[in-house]
């Protein structure tokens, strides 16, 4: 097609200018992508670290549990519910918890803590707790011991094989009390949690709280963080269906609530949203600079070619075809820069994906202080690549409108004489 050929050749007419324009787009796209995927990567890690250690991306609770955290707002095991969780492909793993607040005491010191009753195997699949043991060992099936987070152990001055006393409120007003042997010390990647967490085997926790076979929550991990809303809705629908058909297996009085990680950890979500907004602003500034560059190119191009445009219109070229060629040229140029930018970002991002940056020294300390994991691994979500491409292309398209208007207003003789 002659018009495409014309656009292509015109693009290379002022080789230097085209190269400058293309390379500035290339760097902008590359930079914007890397900036974005690094940031999202940091948050992916931070969010998954946090939710895997605490509440999952989604959590099933007894209605009303979240507000008062009462051990009375618990639910019994229900095979139909478990069946639903086990058959949903988007749910990678899930773990049951029986959580309660308690006082941990050694005689000298006392501290309020969160005691979590866990299913050792399921817990490990979600939070990889056994890998975080810094001394001692992980809990066995039917273990009578307890795991303490590092900061808590330090505060209470406890080591492996020492004994800790827990006091709390049990099911339906019972007093909860127990004496436990410290089996292991856990070092968590999130400092805040390090100060106040302890884990009992599920049976141990039930005995402590006198609940019998009850849970405070099931925490669900999903394959893709973005699917949280959709999975939640499906589960709610299925649970409603389960009730309708359950008959014998339906436990009266047990109604479920499903919460998302954003609801349970609003600060984390807000932090993420804020960083995301910051990132959008940064990219916006970057693209503004690029927009000026592209606009400059358009102005120069229009100026240089006025005479030629005049001739073309004089000999009978329709203005919309002429404008089409010019816009095609600009889009071709922007597309080249954008595709090169995406192509350039790809290996870079993949490299860091497989060779995450491990911050050392002060950087690591600072990162931990702000609850960041000191490992930076970019997100490899294609979406972030494509969005940047769209951004540049839309800038180019919008700016080409200027060329369009200019050509539409052009008068052949004036243009020829310019």
């Amino acid at each position: 097609m002659m018009y495409l050929l014309l656009a292509w050749r015109n693009m290379w007419r002022s080789r230097r200018r085209t190269l400058i324009t293309i390379s500035s787009i290339f760097f902008a796209v590359l930079f914007a992508i890397v900036m974005r995927v690094m940031m999202v990567g940091i948050f992916d890690k931070m969010i998954s670290d946090t939710v895997s250690m605490s509440c999952g991306y989604l959590q099933i609770q007894h209605s009303g549990y979240w507000d008062n955290k009462s051990i009375d707002s618990t639910f019994e095991e229900n095979p139909l519910l478990i069946e639903i969780l086990n058959t949903d492909k988007r749910i990678t793993t899930w773990n049951p918890h029986l959580e309660s607040f308690a006082l941990a005491s050694t005689g000298e010191r006392t501290k309020g803590i969160l005691v979590t009753g866990i299913d050792q195997e399921k817990e490990n699949r979600v939070s990889k707790l056994s890998e975080k043991i810094s001394s001692g060992r992980y809990l066995d099936q039917n273990d009578k011991g307890i795991l303490l987070a590092e900061g808590l152990a330090a505060y209470l001055n406890l080591k492996v094989n020492d004994t800790v006393v827990l006091l709390g409120q049990g099911y339906q007003g019972n007093t909860a009390a127990g004496k436990y042997l410290v089996k292991g010390i856990v070092k968590l990647p999130i400092p805040q949690m390090n100060k106040s967490m302890a884990w009992l085997p599920m049976q141990g926790s039930r005995d402590f709280l006198s609940t019998g076979a009850r849970y405070t929550s099931f925490s669900l991990m999903v394959r893709d963080r973005m699917q949280v809303g959709e999975v939640k809705q499906d589960l709610l629908d299925k649970i409603a269906g389960m009730r309708a058909t359950a008959g014998v297996n339906y436990t009266p009085g047990s109604s479920y609530t499903i919460m998302t990680w954003q609801q349970m950890l609003p600060e984390l979500d807000q932090l993420f949203q804020a960083k995301m907004a910051q990132n959008v602003i940064m990219s916006g500034i970057l693209y503004l600079v690029i927009a000026f560059g592209i606009f400059g190119t358009i102005l120069m191009m229009l100026n240089e070619r006025m005479h030629e445009f005049g001739i073309l219109i004089a000999i009978g070229m329709k203005k919309r075809i002429l404008a089409g060629i010019v816009v095609l040229e600009l889009i071709l140029m922007s597309l080249t820069g954008t595709l090169l930018g995406i192509a350039g970002a790809f290996p870079l991002v993949l490299y860091f994906r497989f060779h995450p940056v491990r911050l050392g020294g002060d950087w690591a300390k600072t990162a931990e202080k702000f609850n960041f994991s000191p490992v930076i691994q970019p997100s490899a979500d294609l979406k972030h690549f494509i969005i940047q491409g769209y951004a540049v292309l839309s800038i180019a398209v919008v700016l080409s409108l200027y060329a369009l208007v200019k050509i539409n207003r052009l008068k052949a003789i004036e243009a020829i004489n310019s």
Binding site: M2, L6, R9, I311, I315, G316, M317, K318, K319, I416
Partner: protein, 231 residues
């Protein structure tokens, strides 16, 4: 003979509200098919303005421009563009060609706009470039051609659309005298052999001598219209 161009009381006033300039002032003129006419006159006499009005590149302040009986001053801009493509060939003073296209592509381009089939395009392009003596330069870009060669390609391009007539505003102004004479000889030959109607403006006496009709403008008015024996 057919009358191709008919001007009635044609005028063009620039800056009518401030200091009016009567660039074309009540011109009546008829151009017959097959004529080879030079438009002459001192600088500022209105030659370019008149040619632009005839070519539908500008709208007059008054009067009519009829091309084969059709008054083009009533057409809107888009219609005029289409009308020019189908009926009028243009040769401008200089830089007529699209710099990024070769001589062949420049000539072919108009036919592409007219949506002519490839076979027809290829044949006509080859014929036209041969006629203007540039078949060996077909793949050269304008920057690789001399000014005279560029003007010859422009003539070939003007012919490629099979127009009813060709307008040329000082086509030799930027050429040395040898190239100018050469261009005029090619135009004269196309006029004679293919009966193509030419209307061109010029200051150059040797170019004027090649014309068969000479129309002289002064202050936007036709002051003489004579037949000439080319030599």
């Amino acid at each position: 003979m057919n009358t191709i161009i008919e001007l009635h009381n044609l005028s063009k006033v620039y800056n009518p509200k401030t200091i009016p300039v009567y660039a074309v002032n009540g011109v009546d003129l008829q151009i017959e098919e097959g004529e080879f006419t030079a438009l002459v006159g001192p600088s500022g006499s209105g030659k370019t303005t008149l040619l632009n009005l005839i070519g539908g590149l500008d709208y007059p302040s008054g009067g009519e421009v009829k091309i084969e009986g059709v008054d083009i001053t009533k057409m809107n801009e888009n219609k005029l563009i289409d009308f020019r493509l189908k009926n009028i060939g243009f040769v401008f003073q200089a830089y007529n060609l699209i710099p990024v296209l070769t001589a062949r592509e420049n000539v072919e381009f108009v036919m592409l706009m007219q949506k002519k089939p490839k076979i027809e395009r290829d044949k006509l392009v080859a014929d036209l470039l041969t006629e203007v003596g540039l078949s060996d330069k077909r793949d050269s870009r304008p920057s690789e051609l001399s000014g005279g060669q560029q003007q010859r390609v422009a003539v070939a391009r003007a012919l490629a659309s099979k127009p009813r007539f060709i307008l040329a505003d000082e086509p030799t102004a930027n050429l040395d005298s040898k190239s100018a004479t050469n261009l005029l000889e090619i135009m004269a030959k196309l006029n004679k052999e293919d009966h193509m109607t030419f209307l061109f403006s010029t200051h150059d006496q040797r170019v004027i001598d090649k014309a068969r009709r000479i129309v002289t403008l002064v202050d936007g008015k036709v002051i003489s219209d004579t037949k000439n024996q080319p030599h």
